[in-house]
């Protein structure tokens, strides 16, 4: 008897089978389109980058591109060595990460383990606001305030330099690192913290030895994300580090980054189909490959240290 009531009830509640299936299919298709469009966009971008780079590499040997020490595509006697742009990119990203990783990690540890609830409620959104400032504002801040300030200590520092751009970029990246790291640390189960305290550990020991290592997967992905941001950042470096390609490992120099070069060329009106125009695709592909590599490393790290508490 119970069965029959259940059956007749379900007939009332649920719509006829066919209508239900059609509705499901339609929704499924819409969801598929949404997911597909983002994948398709990525593929299209990659396709264009690779196609245009292919044309470029027919004119310029890939070895010259990777090992050349001069990047002068707009000169009469053009040379296409990516190393100067690469050094600019790596140096500015390096300076930025030297600021953002320690500061972001310390901020995350403080917010997750030491701050009272009230402090956290105020400090967290305030910190995240740093990420909301347009990068062009950071760029001018670096150029007009940080560089003159640094020149007080280093009088020979040029007006455009990697140091100021990198420092300010680091400031911008702090919230990316601190916010993700803090989430990862807050997600560590209470049981692990209590286990540490119960052994007589202090707050600092618990934070560093247990919570930090339990959250290492999330923390390392925040570092990877921060690195991707630093490598791909455009406005700050274009404004404050200068646009002159310069193979240098000295942060006190000026140097263009890959991104800054792309902006510079895209803004000028170069005729399509020329090699000079094609360079931006080769440079763009290099950038994409670098961030792709970072993402793969991040994926790999997250897998090895996945949180399994």
């Amino acid at each position: 008897m119970a069965q029959t009531t259940l059956k007749s009830r379900s007939r009332q509640i649920y719509k006829p089978k066919l209508a239900r299936q059609v509705k499901e299919k339609v929704i499924e298709f819409i969801l598929f389109l949404a997911a597909f469009s983002s994948v398709a966009t990525t593929v299209a971008i990659l396709y264009i980058l690779i196609k245009e780079s292919f044309l470029f590499f027919q004119e310029v040997p890939i070895v010259d591109f990777l090992t050349g020490t001069k990047w002068t595509p707009l000169f009469v006697n053009p040379q296409y060595g990516i190393l100067p742009l690469l050094s600019g990119t790596l140096m500015s990203a390096g300076v930025a990460l030297a600021v953002a990783i320690p500061m972001g990690t310390i901020a995350a540890i403080y917010l997750s383990e030491f701050a009272t609830k009230r402090v956290r409620e105020i400090a967290k959104p305030a910190l995240e606001l740093l990420a909301a400032i347009p990068t062009v504002v950071y760029g001018y801040f670096a150029l007009l305030y940080v560089t003159p300030f640094l020149q007080n200590f280093f009088p020979k520092l040029p007006g455009f330099n990697i140091l100021a751009a990198g420092l300010v970029m680091g400031l911008m990246i702090i919230p990316f690192i601190s916010s993700i790291s803090e989430d990862a640390m807050s997600a560590v189960p209470v049981g692990l913290r209590e286990g540490s305290y119960a052994m007589g550990a202090t707050k600092l020991q618990t934070a560093l030895k247990v919570v930090f290592s339990a959250a290492i997967s999330g923390i390392s992905s925040s570092y990877i994300l921060g690195t991707s941001r630093a490598v791909g950042e455009t406005m700050i470096v274009a404004i404050a580090a200068g646009l002159r390609p310069n193979l240098t490992w000295n942060p006190f120099d000026q140097a263009a980054t890959i991104t800054a070069f792309i902006v510079q060329v895209s803004l000028g009106d170069l005729p399509h189909g020329t090699i000079a125009y094609q360079t931006i695709f080769a440079a763009g592909l290099t950038l994409v490959l670098m961030t792709l590599l970072l993402n793969i490393i991040g994926h790999f790290l997250a897998k090895t240290y996945r949180e399994i508490y």
Binding site: G191, A201, Y309
Partner: protein, 263 residues
């Protein structure tokens, strides 16, 4: 209510004495006027229906409640008659160095087996590898885990089974020579075989330490404990030798609980 909880005098030396203990979670009065002694080198079981305050009572001994705001103790717990665990000037970290704890769910750290046990030594600033090796082997032996893990001390603790993880947590709790070890239902997340191996451990452990254990299983209390305390609604109803409490309970509530009528 007058509580008759005095069985025959307990003869062993008290390791700790609880005097007029009250505990509050904010305004919630969770423990009410508890008086009890914890006999040295023996196993004392805390039983009682869910929510009666067993965990709350246990966590007073290592000042775990200090970790959260709004908690308040009144009264005292004397350790060796000279230190009041709940005293204002007493540093909870020093208390936890003398009184360690094993939790309900195994909670090994995301570290190697070796480093899990080493933790208690490391937080004390110990760095001498020889001494640590020795103590860690000893703790793992006492916890009946050494033979199973001696060849893979550097593997992650998460590769161990639940029962092994819990024994690892026991080794971790023992490594720094605590005086009292608190157990909060240490076998409730384990299967019967793992439970049996941990119960077996208890009787050997009491040569080294004094044990206070919360358990939901009356059979477990009867099997492993020397003394039993029955709690109900935040009060200590009855306390005495396990065989006395189980065979001739003085209190009607105790009898009802033991015979399965409440809880």
């Amino acid at each position: 209510m007058v509580i008759n909880n005095s069985h025959e005098q307990i003869t062993s030396i008290p390791k700790a004495e609880v005097a007029d203990l009250d505990f509050y979670y904010g305004s919630f009065h969770a423990l009410k006027g508890i008086n009890m002694t914890l006999p040295e080198h023996s196993v004392t079981a805390l039983i009682g229906p869910s929510g009666c305050g067993k965990t709350t009572f246990l966590r007073c001994f290592n000042r775990m409640h200090d970790l959260y705001p709004g908690n308040r103790y009144e009264g005292s717990i004397w350790l060796d008659k000279d230190t009041n665990i709940l005293g204002r000037k007493v540093d909870p970290i020093e208390v936890r160095m003398r009184i360690s704890m094993v939790f309900q769910r195994p909670n090994p750290f995301p570290k190697s087996i070796y480093e899990n046990v080493a933790y208690g030594l490391r937080v004390r600033g110990e760095n001498n590898r020889r001494l640590m090796d020795e103590k860690i082997e000893d703790a793992l032996r006492v916890s009946a885990l050494w033979d199973e893990v001696k060849d893979r001390l550097n593997e992650s603790a998460y590769n161990l089974s639940g029962g092994q993880q819990q024994r690892l947590c026991i080794a971790r709790a023992l490594v720094a020579d605590p005086e009292i070890v608190l157990f909060d239902e240490p076998t409730s997340a384990l299967d019967p075989i793992a439970t049996a191996s941990i119960e077996e451990l208890m009787s050997t452990l009491k040569d080294r330490v004094t044990i206070l254990i919360v358990t939901h299983s009356m059979q477990q209390a009867a099997r492993i404990s020397d003394h039993t305390a029955f709690m109900y609604l935040g009060e200590l109803i009855e306390f005495g030798r396990t065989k006395d409490v189980f065979n001739k309970p003085l209190n009607q509530q105790t009898e009802d609980y033991i015979s399965g009528r409440i809880g």
